[in-house]
Amino acid sequence: MTRTEIEQCEICPANPNAKLLHLGAKIDGSDHIVALAGNPNVGKSTIFNQLTGLRQHTGNWPGKTVTRAEGAYVYDGKRYKVIDLPGTYSLLSTSTDEEIARDFILFGRPDVTVVVVDGTRIARNLNLVLQILDITDRLVVNVNLVDEAKRVGLSIDGRALARELGVPVVLTAARTGEGIPHLLHEIANLASGKVFTKPFRFVTTSKHVQRGVEQLSQLIQKAYPAIPNTRWIALRLLEGDQSIIDAIRHGELGLLATTGRRDEHVAVEGAGDERTQ
């Protein structure tokens, strides 16, 4: 190919990478904030590297990322800041790394949260997805490691999963970069509001709990009309989650009230921690 041909390919609209520009660690002045969540050891850091062009070290063991890493990219003219959160099994925040992840999704309110899911362990990983769906509706589910799933003889129906969960689902094999253009596309659609989600909200089977949640979430709704996830907060209160109780006592719950764009500083200072080598 001649040089001009290559240049033409790079700007062709059919080439999804034409719209992508890695920004590495240059994170100032972003249009949208994207959080990467997921269980430990599902390839979040690999996805993070693929999006930002950074080469953060990845390791094959749970607990590799204990602090937040931040990076950025430009896609289709918009700047995205990506935050790689520590891997967690749940949002119950029992250790520092889990707390960092949860506080960011709750109080940092990213424009899009990408939950990375291990394609070989869908059932176990979906626990976390269902919990995050209860907090935010701006969610993309990214089933990663589909190459590994294929090797162990598992096939995953992304469309069926999207139907079940009511949010976009993208299948990727991040180690080889497969599916990343699709992921970029879905993130952009959700961030710009081109796509709406109808998140699946799981219902507890216990009538007792249902009534309690109902009663409490009505009270919260009245006090904070703009909060989108009152049911989840009610459930956490019933479970006696100390950090949510504190958030209500100190009035921080109001931070959850506004949807859409919020002050950049709130998001940036969400869990306040820099990376340490």
Binding site: R55, H57, R151, V209, L216, L238, I248
Partner: protein, 478 residues
Amino acid sequence: MNGRSDTPNKSILAVANALRWEIGEGLHDSVTADLYREAERIAGVVTARSGKGQRLDLDRILDRILTSRAFGFPTMFLLLALVFWLTIEGANVPSALLSTLLVDQGHPFLKSLSAAFGVPWWVSGPLVDGTYLAMAWVVSVMLPPMAIFFPLFTLLEDFGYLPRVAFNLDFLFRKAGAHGKQALTMAMGYGCNAAGIVSTRIIDSPRERLIAILTNNFALCNGRWPTQILIASIFIGVLAPPYLAGAVSALAVVAVVLLGIAFTFLVSWMLSRTILRGTASTFSLELPPYRPPRILHTLYTSLIDRTLIVLWRAVVWAAPAGLVIWLVSNISIGGVSLAAHVVQSLDPLGLLIGLNGIILLAYVIAIPANEIVIPTLLMLTVLFHGIADVGTGAGVLFELDSPAAVADLLHAGGWTLLTGINLMLFSLLHNPCSTTLYTIYRETGSVKWTLLSALIPLVIGFTVCFFVAQVWRIVVGV
């Protein structure tokens, strides 16, 4: 926040409290069970299993060997020994090449260059003889072993071996009253103790996290390997016939690593029975699937993320240290250099524990970075014993082409096999570097724990060296 009074917040909390009593204790379990059931159902709908996976079987066979009661520990030991042996054997040639280039040729070149431009000695001395040579030394001694060790370690990590190590060691940590995940933070400590301290965030219980922080220093960090490897090859390797020297040196380093692990357990056990009393909490550790490491990618990231970052730190600290060495050697009080004063006053204590004053002074100068212990030692030895024909003047970090030359020099400086062994022990058992101490302070927010984490290994180091020296003198009689 939005100008509301506290009343709705208080009533929400009151209602929540009342409802919590009404619903009772089973809430968490019932919600969790609901979540799991729902997740199972969805997973069932969207996944299909076709035939039997080949790789799962292979994973199982590997796990049966690598985590078995009989073979788990021997394989761990062998892999460790293999990695060290490759590092020691492989690093010799490139080390010599770099030393020729940076020290034998680079240093005279810079000297003649500064002479040509008429730079006065009190400028070229600290800059070229102090700062440049210290940096050149650190690069030629450290770069080759690190460029071999880190990729090997990273390959094991990417393959998925580390969680298996944690699994193997878990029951020992539990017996010591510590958290099983401490095996992982310990593994991080082999790269860098400061990174190991940060990684203790994966431990839920504050008590067990403190134990992991206080004992992380017993994981030999990369800044201390060059010391271990060099001393092992010139004092212990030479005891064996030449074709076995590499293997014997590697085994000596492995022995020190294992001793560090033993101290990790011992100190954890003592802490959990005294000032950090409590029982070990349970946790679940996922054994991730084995993944074929991508060799080229691993080489790249381990070179950039680990080797170069660590090397950069060493070079940055070597520069001021080189300057300090030059200064303490060239500033005299009453006709005797500052270094000589300090070494003389430290000598009695040093000799009592089988070391010497020079080694103790080197460890004081090297508090910012363990990497510069060896260059500092050699320079001070030359200076203090007035050995001629090596180096080019007071406070000059000089060139030594081979471990044999280093050995000759150290023997001339009064070193014995005991000094070598005790230096290896002291290199394992002394205070963490200043970066690590600062990290400990930041993570714990407590001066008390920071001080304790420096004192515990220091006291152990002095005690162990003292006893080894006494026993040695009784048995060997030197």
